[in-house]
């Protein structure tokens, strides 16, 4: 809202008061307007921290700035003895940029000098794109843009209770900001010696002051805030701008400060915002003004708004799984780009989660893993799934239980228990136990020579058997070669026939059971062949328990 100018000077004074500018802001305001700064950028360079001032309509701020300048001239008139005008609708002297004089092709600053024209019905000055914010604070800080942003958020149907609005600006805005700062540094210092470039309100900040409230209103009052910590702000909406016309603004910096713009493999554009800001800090004012015009040259077009990006922080779901199949790998098994086995544990678990959380992707991790031909029985193996960019993140206990049911209904090859939503940090517990906990296995063993029950007795009496285990040949292609000491705590046997028995083992985590049985070319010492003095082989293996006490059990 704005006050309309009434028929007395009181109203005029009121309208100035709406923009809390000081007398010594006047030279700054005048110089900035002449340079082609937009009304909101003028407020920024006046270091005005009153947020409500930025939230007024662009037209109102423009008009009030013009009044502020005109008042100065009136005062000059008063000093000259001319009585103050108190007419109903005083002709407003507007600063207008003489666009006819602008020559985009020319770098000669002299043609860019704006003129103050005395026109009652002047074109609104916001038709000119701001030399500093390139239109961000002119054309993208209104109800219409807020509608566009909230429209995208609504269309994606996210569930959230707080939203972070983040802004990404073209890197050259930093160059233009600096150029403008150097242009008015003298006047700002005259206003107050303590003011520095850091006191100028950043474009991002002003943008958020205006837009957070507007977007919040459109979303039915959900708070739209500035990012403070990862913990509380779960949902982020990114608004980005580009301005290809002025991308080359940054290029001169590479000549002055090549160190800041080293090309890297994964970066197509070396002129990142960070690099540009760093380079500007290194360049002296003298050098900068020699290489880049002050104030910045006028752009012909405004910024282009990029697609609005929504991102919800990942949700982590943990539990324990059983694997009942000897033809099911834990993760998709691909050899030479070709898929082996049609499914996997992680896919069977993740598919129902992905659709319920409406997530874009997932990462599966677990406390150790079993081979494709190994079953995992007993209490199951702890696992966690990171669900990336979930559109829905809140599930109560009953809903999580239903999810667990859905997973268990979808396949009889696996079963999940203790399903729960956990924090990212809690995932660490799963890996902690991995190396030093006990694991229990049961294996079906074949022996070359005939055996009797009595031949197996001594295995039961063998406790804390130390093994020296070289990295198994089957994983040596992807793991370092080492000899590791592992302990088999206990063994028990169940005789089947002259060539077969069941062997139950409790071992230190990280013991390779298959290699303990067949010896791996004698690379695991001692092995079961040595102990039984005959060739032995492993026909079946089951994991009976993984003794990691995370995640906590969920009572049925």
């Amino acid at each position: 809202m704005r006050f309309t100018r009434q028929s007395n000077s009181f109203a005029i004074i009121l309208s100035y008061m709406m923009l809390p500018l000081k007398e010594n802001d006047r030279p700054i305001v005048k110089k900035l307007l002449e340079a082609g700064c937009c009304a909101r950028c003028v407020l920024r360079f006046c270091c005005l921290e009153v947020q409500s001032a930025y939230r007024k309509s662009y037209e109102d701020i423009s008009r009030e700035l013009c009044d502020f300048i005109r008042d100065a001239e009136n005062k000059v008139a008063q000093v000259a003895g001319v009585p103050e005008q108190l007419t109903e609708d005083p002709p407003s002297k507007k600063i207008k940029l003489d666009t006819a004089k602008i020559d985009d092709q020319s770098e000669d600053e002299s043609v860019l000098v704006p003129t103050v024209t005395d026109q009652g019905n002047a074109e609104p000055m916001d038709s000119d794109v701001c030399v500093v914010c390139l239109g961000v604070l002119q054309d993208f800080c209104d109800e219409a843009h807020a509608t566009k942003i909230s429209g995208v958020v609504k269309a994606e149907n996210y569930q959230f209770d707080t939203m972070v609005l983040s802004v990404s600006l073209p890197a050259q805005l930093s160059v233009r900001e600096h150029s403008c700062w150097l242009h008015i540094k003298k006047e700002v210092r005259e206003k107050s010696m303590c003011l520095d470039k850091d006191d100028v309100i950043p474009v991002k900040e002003a943008f958020k002051w205006i837009m957070q409230g507007l977007v919040s209103k459109q979303l039915g009052g959900i708070p739209v805030v500035t990012k403070i910590s990862r913990q509380t702000e779960q949902f982020e909406v990114g608004v980005g701008f580009t301005h290809p016309e002025t991308d080359s603004d940054c290029h001169f910096l590479a000549g002055i400060c090549p160190d800041c713009f080293r090309p890297t493999k994964n970066k197509q554009n070396v002129f990142t915002r960070m690099a540009v800001v760093k380079a500007i800090e290194k360049v002296s004012d003298e050098k900068f003004v020699k290489k880049f015009p002050c104030p910045p040259p006028r752009p012909a077009s405004k910024c282009i708004a990029q697609d609005v990006q929504c991102l919800h922080v990942s949700v982590f779901v943990a539990g324990r799984y059983n694997k009942f199949s000897r033809t099911l790998p834990q993760t998709p098994w691909v050899i030479d780009g070709e898929r082996r086995m049609e499914s996997s544990v992680e896919e069977l678990i993740a598919a129902p989660l992905l659709s319920s959380f409406r997530a874009e992707g997932f990462n599966f991790s677990s406390s150790g893993r079993e081979d494709v031909d190994v079953r995992t029985l007993g209490n199951g193996r702890p696992f966690a799934v990171e669900l990336q960019n979930p559109h829905r993140a809140r599930f109560n206990k009953a809903e999580v239980r239903q999810l667990q049911e859905a997973i268990n209904q979808s396949s009889d090859k696996i079963r999940v228990r203790d399903l729960q939503i956990v924090s990212r940090d809690a995932m660490g517990h799963m890996k902690e136990g991995e190396e030093d906990k006990t694991k229990s296995y049961s294996a079906l063993i074949w022996t070359h020579k005939d055996i009797s029950k009595d031949d197996l007795m001594f295995l039961e009496e063998t406790k804390e058997l130390k093994l020296a285990q070289k990295t198994p040949l089957r994983v040596l292609h992807r793991r370092p070669l080492a000899v590791r000491e592992r302990v088999i705590h206990t063994m028990s046997t169940r005789f089947l026939d002259a060539h077969h028995f069941h062997l139950a083992l409790r071992t230190q985590a990280g013991t390779y059971i298959k290699e303990f049985v067949h010896g791996d070319f004698g690379r695991t010492k001692p092995n079961l062949c040595d102990l039984l003095k005959t060739e032995t082989d492993i026909l079946e293996l089951d994991v009976e328990s993984v003794d990691v006490d995370w995640p906590p059990p969920i009572p049925e």
Binding site: H477, P480, D497
Partner: protein, 180 residues
């Protein structure tokens, strides 16, 4: 339970490895070797069952991995997942020399190109393993071919079938040694 008797068909080698052979290496009659290639491309080098060491009835006097004054395979050290530092071998690189009790010395070769990961120190202390378990505990060395050569590295070698044909032509027909 009776059918459990018949479960044991394929051995560890049958399940995970492909057998390749090189016969009459360096033109020396009968000096045959075996390359066991794992599906993960790792190769284990062993004597073939037709090698004179396993055929001549002599015992083994010594195994020597010092293949020249300046080069010992025992010095081979690999580190990290990428196995940095391992000696790179071509197919005719000698791995070790084995001397039998009749004082005949045989040189065992790499047979394939690749990085040497380890040699079998077990046969230094117990050379009899070469005779008792030539294709398992009596192995000679482990070699990792380059990933881009993993498919072609065995191109010059004989398959099990071709090897058996070579053997039957040698003896003039019938004898087919069991694969071990």
């Amino acid at each position: 339970m009776e059918d459990l008797e018949h479960i044991k068909a394929p051995s560890v080698i049958d399940r995970y490895y492909t057998r390749w052979y090189k016969t009459d290496i360096k033109g020396k009659k009968g000096e045959d070797q075996c390359v066991l290639q794992h599906s993960n491309r790792i190769c284990v080098i062993t004597l073939a069952e037709s090698h004179p060491i396993l055929q001549n009835g002599n015992k083994i006097k010594s195994v020597n991995y010092q293949i020249s004054a300046g080069c010992s395979r025992l010095q081979n050290k690999v580190s990290g997942k990428s196995k940095r530092g391992g000696q790179f071998l071509t197919e005719f690189a000698p791995l070790c020399r084995i001397t039998c009790t009749d004082d005949v010395e045989y040189t065992i070769y790499s047979c394939i190109r690749g990085r040497l990961l380890e040699v079998n120190e077990g046969i230094l202390e117990r050379p009899e393993l070469l005779l008792e378990k030539p294709s398992t505990e009596g192995y000679i060395a482990v070699i990792l071919p380059k990933i881009e050569e993993s498919k072609t590295v065995t191109n010059g070698l004989l398959s099990r079938e071709e090897y058996e044909n070579v053997l039957s032509n040698r003896t003039g027909g019938s004898a087919e040694p069991e694969p071990c």
